[in-house]
Symmetry: C2
Subunit: 234 residues, 2 copies
């Protein structure tokens, strides 16, 4: 483990440095801005040098996703004294906050397997929480996946409404943009949509995110209650 380094100009690079550059470019300019060539340029190296550390661009992007999911703190839902629903809500809001900090990464997350170590750690935690909810193992797994679908689906659609690359504008601004857009929906073709335009504008808020999550948790709660009534093992 003696880790010799830096004798001469070699080892100009690290995997870390490459991922930092990739994530920065992704955050600043969106998916198109994070090419192998721009990443290499940012770390001051020839494009093909990246291939010493990663086998392909896809591998770099997978590692970026893992890096982002690694920012999720696992203790927000760890306190077993709190009710499981509160813990799920805290975790969900925390995940949302961390992930939406990198809008351009969402298509990568819902476009690939989500089976890296940190993705598995999140799944493990959700499984744990669903166990605490009183669900038997196989229902707990199904419910955990339902939560994954809801979380990543909601985040992806949220981000998908913003066309320009770069950090997400403030919530109020995104709602205002949607309000303008849906004011133009023709009443004769889509009467209900047009009538509900004001509510539709708020689809991108954290309030709607939490509202949807609570309906999902209500559905899971009902299952847990039914299981308990049935007399199945906790």
């Amino acid at each position: 483990m003696t880790e010799r380094r830096r004798r001469g100009p070699r080892r100009a690079l690290t995997e870390e440095a490459i991922l930092d550059a990739a994530l920065e470019l992704l955050d600043e300019g969106g998916a198109d801005a994070a090419s192998i060539r721009t990443i290499a340029a940012r770390v001051g190296v020839a494009p093909n040098a990246v291939y010493t550390y990663f086998p392909s661009k896809a591998a770099v992007l997978r590692a970026v996703v893992e890096r982002i999911l690694g920012d999720i703190e696992h203790d927000v839902a760890a306190d077993r004294a709190r009710p499981w629903r509160e813990r799920v809500e805290s975790l969900a809001l925390h995940v949302r906050e961390r992930v939406l900090a990198h809008p351009a990464a969402l298509p990568l997350m819902v476009g690939g397997p989500l089976d890296g170590r940190n993705a598995l750690a999140l799944h493990e935690q959700l499984l744990d929480l669903m166990g605490d909810a009183g669900l038997p193992p196989s229902d707990a797994a199904r419910a955990a996946y339902l939560l994954v679908v809801y979380l990543f689906g909601a985040m992806a659609l949220n981000v998908a409404q913003v066309p320009e690359p770069g950090p997400l504008p403030p919530e109020a601004e995104r709602v205002a943009a949607r309000r303008r857009r849906f004011a133009a929906v023709p009443t004769e073709s889509f009467p209900r949509t047009a009538a509900a335009a004001d509510t539709i504008a708020t689809y991108v808020t954290s309030e709607q995110f939490l509202w949807g999550l609570r309906r999902v948790l209500d559905g899971i709660s009902a299952l847990a209650a039914h299981t308990a009534t049935d007399g199945s093992p906790a």
Copy 2:
């Protein structure tokens, strides 16, 4: 409206023909296979001829998404005699069947605004159903969006598990592939995930899709019941 056409070799192309070619290529070889150049080649034309009909590649892909959503039949959920939950389930399964026929299109759907005419028509129908469920307008809109998030989130994550382009393999094959993958999850790091591997393998099935949908509908039902008890207007 006299629409003169075809005098000489001009009008070799149609928007329809371009979209057909684009969708075929998308279905056969995935997103990378559907380049402006391959699309043009398939319809027998120079690459830049496509720009006579669409302003950009992004516009072509948006139109492809709309074309797929146009395959959704609106009468599967129209029969008001049936209970609203059954109608939502029918619609959801129908949408899933139609959309999963084009796996490569899902990243396009969850990566963009979903505000085309056919997307709006689907939203309108969900709004209608949520009204029939007894929800007041603003809750109906929130619930409709929850369903959109669930539907497209579930479909996107479903497709994201299959790395090779082309049509989705049969369900049994996809489950088997997942079983092999999750058999390799280390028990010491992810005990619950490893223990639930057999259930996790079934995340990609239509059964799990329906299971999750039913939990969501349970959550929405609870809200409707509460609203009714409250004495709010139907």
